[in-house]
């Protein structure tokens, strides 16, 4: 007779996997359920970028903490994780964006984040394929990129060594205080439940304000030495935080194979998984504007994914309002790969009632209600 798991995690993406490992390491009996395969949601689609961000103090705390945790995990990752320490290069097209680059640098450095402002000449040296005429940029050498499907798999394998179980291709209808209510009517009982289902989170628990934010990516054939960093336009931040429901931004990254990943775009509230030619092309044209040489590279594959977007672009980590035994670990938008490590710690600390290394208030799901009160 198998015992009821202490914790059931719905969602075997990288956030669910990180939480599973953390809780298993803490001695909990964990079961992970997913409607599909491991890393099948946004974790299948993303660029694998581990980066620090400063849109808000809470975001900065979470991203910095997570990068620290990644630096501790990295030496233990398998080769398939393909963790490359390429750094992020934020590109400034004009003086206004350069001012933003300097502001970020001044924010990061005193807080221990290595950062360097590059002028136009230095930018061209760092990324020769960027078009001439750009103003400069901000280099964050401690950022990196990895292949997250392999990492999610590895995290779950490690959790399984500690007694966790993983159950794929299990359709879940709802998450309740007594367990997962499966699509076939059965109830999978658990002590406490965690909703880590990303864009689908709002379909499984109430009071979970998560919307899909569709993205497209393209990968090219091997083009060694075409780009060396995760390169992003500074205007990306403007585009991702603006009220606009649809936006594209220049964003490329190298893969260890020498292939180039081309992104990025976002469409809020769109559930259609098909390739949308219009926005894909808009994204490609934006990319060519910044790196004209991309036009000559051959694209091999395109795919889509659904980020989990929240109203304030911060994740929901903590007790789910309206439930006794249900917790949320979702709403990671475009940062889920990077901050899955910090998320796991923040969730575990709350579930165990232990202190957390960073303040957790900014991620509490109840903040929405507090804001509206």
């Amino acid at each position: 007779m198998s015992q009821v798991p202490d914790v059931i995690i719905a969602g075997a993406g990288i956030v669910g996997a990180a939480c599973a490992l953390e809780l298993a390491q803490g001695g909990a009996k964990v079961a992970v359920y997913d409607k599909g395969v491991v890393s099948g949601g946004a974790s299948a689609a993303g660029m694998g970028h581990l980066c620090v961000m400063d849109d808000s103090e809470a975001q900065f705390q979470m991203t910095r903490y997570s990068l620290d945790l990644w630096s501790r995990i990295s030496p233990t990752l398998p080769p398939s994780a393909a963790h490359i320490h390429c750094g992020t290069l934020w590109v400034a097209a004009d003086e206004e964006e350069m001012a933003e680059a300097r502001r970020k640098c001044d924010f990061y450095r005193p807080r221990g984040i290595p950062a360097e402002v590059l002028d136009a000449k230095q930018l061209a040296e760092a990324e020769p394929n960027l078009r001439p005429g750009l103003a400069g940029g901000l280099l964050l050498p401690a950022d990196s990129v990895l292949y997250q499907p392999a990492v999610a798999r590895w995290m779950l394998d490690e959790a399984c060594k500690l007694g966790a179980t993983v159950h794929t291709n299990q359709s879940i209808a709802a998450i309740e205080d007594d367990g997962l209510h499966m699509a076939d009517g059965a109830i999978t009982a658990g002590g406490r439940m965690v909703n880590a289902t990303g864009a689908w989170a709002g379909q499984l628990t109430r009071n979970t304000a998560v919307k899909p934010k569709k993205g497209h990516l393209m990968v090219t054939e091997r083009a060694p030495d075409f780009c060396f960093h995760e390169v992003v336009e500074l205007a990306y931040i403007k585009s991702s935080n603006s009220g606009a429901t649809e936006a594209v931004a220049f964003n490329v990254a190298p893969r260890p194979t020498g292939q180039v990943l081309i992104g990025s775009c976002r469409q809020l509230g769109v559930w259609d998984p098909e390739i949308d030619r219009n926005i894909l092309n808009k994204m490609l044209r934006r990319a060519i504007e910044y790196m004209p040489g991309l036009a000559q590279l051959r694209g091999i594959r395109t795919w889509t994914g659904f980020r989990a977007a929240t109203r304030d672009s911060l994740p929901l980590i903590g007790p789910c309002p309206g439930y006794e035994n249900v917790w949320l670990a979702t709403g990671h938008e475009g940062l889920g790969i990077g901050i899955c490590t910090g998320t796991a710690k923040v969730l575990a600390a709350q579930m165990l009632g232990t202190p957390c290394e960073i303040p957790v208030d900014g991620y509490l799901p109840s903040r929405e209600a507090a804001r509206n009160a």
């Binding site: 099948g40 390739i275 092309n281 395109t302």
Partner: protein, 423 residues
């Protein structure tokens, strides 16, 4: 990069027998026809190189020359906008073209099914059809020792060509059993034309060893093929050779149809009796609509051509002939169905995905195609799963994911070349 646009009435994708036949029928009906193909010449695989050798191909090439449809050669269709009735193709020399059509006939043919076995990635191991294609495009095989292995009448056709070109065909290894092959031979008696063909072929190949229930278990060599290990009835022996032509049947090329939104099954694109697909204005004929041989491709091509030019009467007149070819197709496919034992020729160490060097053992813990792709990168290479997908489906029973644009690898610049952009 230079980009141009054109418009046509009937656009035919694929200039093999089905495409050529459709082009003839449509042109003869008075329509403006454009034929686009990724090869430098018409004829597809079976009539490669546009040098007609048999009576049938001679007739059709003559008819095709008279029909003289507009041709776009060496063109790779990379994306499609079905609502706008537009296809985008990449051409050599950094050029691209966007073609708007009224009706589209898909005659995209088929590719070979390759089963992975130890050593199959060695240079010198080619498809059976692949070897045929190379020989027809100029490869001199005089005196070269060749083993052919796999399944189906294609092996005999290739052996015939190789014999003609003075290669030394050492062995034809057919995986189907002798009972199955003999039954096939007997059933051919009901189509005298085919029987005569078969008898003629048999006579020409009389001196070549033809073994049934036989297959190649491994290919060996240092950097290129030197010998193969052949297996029959549990016996294994070695044959020294220069080329191994191996093909285990055909897989329909349905990628363009999928991107257009056409319904399909594992057998091919779904069509009605007028060769219409589930997408309005799009037709499909030939191997892409179901493997069945050249006669099926020709009659379906003509029906599609008449159908697309609003000539249903002329199309209907060919239904009986088409039914005959479908009967033969069914016979062909059941006779040469692959035996389950062939799954054992792929060892755990065998590379299954040639583009990314993924071995069979990497699939042990995997749950399906998507999981395998994400964790091993199988199917993520340039061939976009065209080679490994059907192999993995045979070995593991996993269906590969639906095709997405770009339909073939395409320059990023090509993909945006046709966009109307406000300056």
């Amino acid at each position: 990069m230079s980009h141009r646009r054109m418009q046509t009435s009937i656009l035919i994708a694929g200039a093999g027998p089905a495409g050529m036949a459709a082009a003839c029928a449509a042109s003869e009906s008075g329509a403006r026809v454009t034929l686009i193909d990724l090869s430098p010449t018409a004829g597809g695989q079976i009539w490669r190189g546009a040098k007609p050798s048999g009576k049938l191909s001679k007739q059709w090439f003559e008819r095709f020359a008279k029909a003289a449809p507009e041709r776009i050669q060496s063109a790779r269709i990379v994306s499609a906008e079905p609502e706008a009735r537009k296809l985008l193709a990449e051409l050599p020399g950094n050029e691209s073209i966007a073609i708007t059509y009224e009706k589209l006939i898909l005659a995209t043919g088929a590719r070979e099914l390759f089963l992975p076995f130890p050593g199959w990635t060695l240079p010198g191991v080619v498809g059976a059809g692949g070897l045929q294609a190379l020989v027809k495009s100029g490869l001199d095989v005089r005196g070269k020792r060749v083993v052919l292995a796999g399944s189906g009448p294609l092996l005999l056709a290739v052996a015939d060509l190789l014999r003609e070109r003075e290669a030394n065909v050492l062995l034809i290894a057919e995986q189907a059993s002798s009972a199955t092959v003999n039954r096939f031979g007997l059933k051919l008696a009901s189509s005298p034309g085919k029987l005569a063909q078969a008898i003629g072929l048999r006579a020409r190949l009389a001196s070549i060893s033809y073994l049934t229930g036989c297959w190649v278990a491994s290919a060996q060599g240092d950097g290129c093929l030197r010998r193969v290990q052949v297996q029959q009835d549990g016996r294994r022996w070695t044959v020294d050779c220069d080329y191994l032509g191996t093909g285990y049947g055909l897989v329909p090329n349905t990628e363009l149809a999928e991107v257009l939104g056409c319904s399909r099954t594992c057998l091919g694109v779904t069509v009605d009796d007028l060769q219409r697909t589930s997408v309005e204005g799009v037709y499909c004929a030939g191997e892409a609509a179901g493997i069945g041989g050249v006669d099926k491709s020709l009659v379906e091509g003509v029906i599609a051509g008449y159908s697309a030019t609003d000539n249903p009467g002329a199309a209907q007149a060919l239904f009986v002939e088409r039914a005959r070819t479908h009967k033969f197709a069914k016979l062909l496919n059941t006779t040469f169905a692959l035996r389950a034992e062939l799954r054992s020729i792929t060892t755990p160490e065998t590379i299954v995905c040639r583009c990314e060097d993924v071995r069979l053992s990497e699939f042990d813990a995997r749950e399906g195609w998507r999981d395998a792709k994400l964790q091993s990168r199988c199917g993520m290479g340039r061939c976009q799963g065209r080679v490994c997908g059907p192999a993995v489906e045979f070995l593991k029973g996993w269906k590969s994911s639906p095709a997405k644009p770009p339909i073939f690898p395409a320059r990023v610049g090509t993909l945006v070349a046709d966009d109307e952009v406000e300056s």
